[in-house]
């Protein structure tokens, strides 16, 4: 990703707005953008979802492969999560191997889903030591207007929860729904004008400082955390966003679970 020049005017404008407890697109500090989650939108994927948050649009597709289990875990299948932000998603994203930003995106989303234990890797085993399912979750950005992290995480879990294991095509039994026992949800907060806001848009990301990503499970357990970009935050600030994340993840989980 090419890092655009941050106009001093934008930063000044954002901090002036923050002083008045306002945001550049009129939202309040903890307000998310209009959200639409749809599933089964990709005909060639075994599970898929499209998430739209304002002008940010992402897709998630689930594919399956048969793998040989790792020698030290003969009874387990695998989960792989990869994110790619290709030049279609915005003028600052460039072609080529995944950028550090795209790799961070994929890995943070992966950790939240993996560590929640929502996919029981033991259930992915077909023949111990010989055959197991590898679940591959591909995250694809269509339009980047900020906060790809939350959009990817939401699309990812929605796609997994609606995935079918294509056992017939691989001649290892009948098709069945992929068991997904939990719904981990990520919430991201950006420091904009010296305070944290939820669900930053592209201009807030551009003129802001550090960001913090929190993934919570069904029981509010913490499954992944990530602090990104330059910036310093206090324990009090963290408590505030963690409290907000507990409320917000519950609302989002209801949406995903009702699909």
């Amino acid at each position: 990703m090419t890092i655009p020049i941050v106009p001093k005017l934008l930063r000044a404008h954002l901090s002036e707005l923050a002083g008045k407890n306002a945001r550049i697109d009129g939202r309040s500090q903890w307000e998310g953008r209009k959200l639409v989650v749809e599933h089964s939108v990709l005909p060639r994927a075994e599970g898929s979802a499209r998430v739209r948050m304002g002008d940010t649009i992402v897709l998630a597709g689930v594919k399956f492969q048969i793998m040989q289990p790792y020698p030290d875990r003969p009874n387990q299948g695998g989960l792989m999560c990869s994110a790619d932000v290709r030049p279609i998603a915005g003028r600052n994203w460039e072609a080529g191997p995944p950028s550090p930003e795209a790799i961070e995106l994929g890995r943070v989303v992966d950790r939240g889903i993996r560590e929640s234990g929502c996919i029981d890797v033991d259930s992915l085993c077909i023949i111990p030591g010989e055959k197991a399912w590898q679940v591959i979750l591909d995250l694809f950005a269509v339009s980047d207007d900020g906060n790809l992290f939350d959009a990817f995480a939401l699309a990812g879990i929605a796609a997994l929860r609606n995935a079918t294991v294509p056992a017939e095509r691989f001649e290892v039994g009948e098709d069945y729904s992929l068991p997904v026992s939990k719904t981990p949800i990520m919430c991201s907060y950006h420091k904009v004008g010296a305070r944290f806001v939820y669900d930053a848009c592209a201009r807030e990301e551009l003129g802001g400082d550090e960001r913090i990503h929190i993934t919570l499970g069904d029981d509010d357990n913490v499954h992944s955390l990530q602090k990104g970009l330059k910036g310093i935050f206090s324990a009090e600030e963290f408590v505030e966003i963690m409290t907000n994340a507990q409320t917000r993840t519950k609302e989002l989980r209801k949406i995903v679970d009702s699909l």
């Binding site: 990709l42 005909p43 060639r44 994927a45 898929s48 002008d55 649009i57 897709l59 597709g61 689930v62 594919k63 492969q65 990869s82 790619d84 290709r86 030049p87 279609i88 998603a89 915005g90 003028r91 072609a95 191997p97 591959i136 591909d138 694809f140 269509v142 339009s143 980047d144 207007d145 095509r169 592209a202």
Partner: protein, 239 residues
Amino acid sequence: MGGYGDVKMIDENGLRMDGRSPGDIREITIETGVIPVADGSCRMTWGTNEAIVAVYGPMEAHPRKIQRQDRAVLDVAYNMAPFSTTDRMRPGFNRRSREISKVTKDALESVVLLELYPRSKIRVTIEILSAEAGTRCVGLTAASVALADAGIPMTDLVVSVASGKINDVVVCDLNKEEDNYGEADLPMGILPNSGELVFLQMDGDLSQEEFKEAWQYNMDAAQVVHGMMIEALKGGDSQ
């Protein structure tokens, strides 16, 4: 191509496996403005093919060595998303995608009025979200709609269609099975207002007569698809 001529793909009534007559094309939908952050965009479904295209620019061409003093450069990339095929498509470098990107660029450079934007760059990104057969045609057609949606001046739109041969019968717009087991494939990129061509490929085996028939099928289909492209660009979806 070839070697599979014994797979029966035309029934006794002369209909194809998906019920189409030899000259019929698959169902098509076209939408514009589907990528809010892009300057122009298009989503096109053609059978179970789905392509989305974003156009960015004209913008600064960098690095400077790619700049042309007398015209804009087109940066065209065609890519298949990992979930676009039955078996997952591994992301990364791919000779097929490189070739399709190149011939698509060659086709689009023939219609875009590049000399209006010296030293700048126009970026066209084609992503195949679902592949059936004929993705290069869908990509090129959708790219010309996205360029028009971005307000980039062009001499004409480009309509790309492929015809081919299955069980010794010439048919228009091959689907997946027909493409896999057929005997020939002739994709063309047509300027619908003049009937001229900006893109042409072919592989397989066609007699001179069959070739003329396939050519004509493509020309006729181009007029039909062109009507839908115009409708989509005028506003609203085209079915």
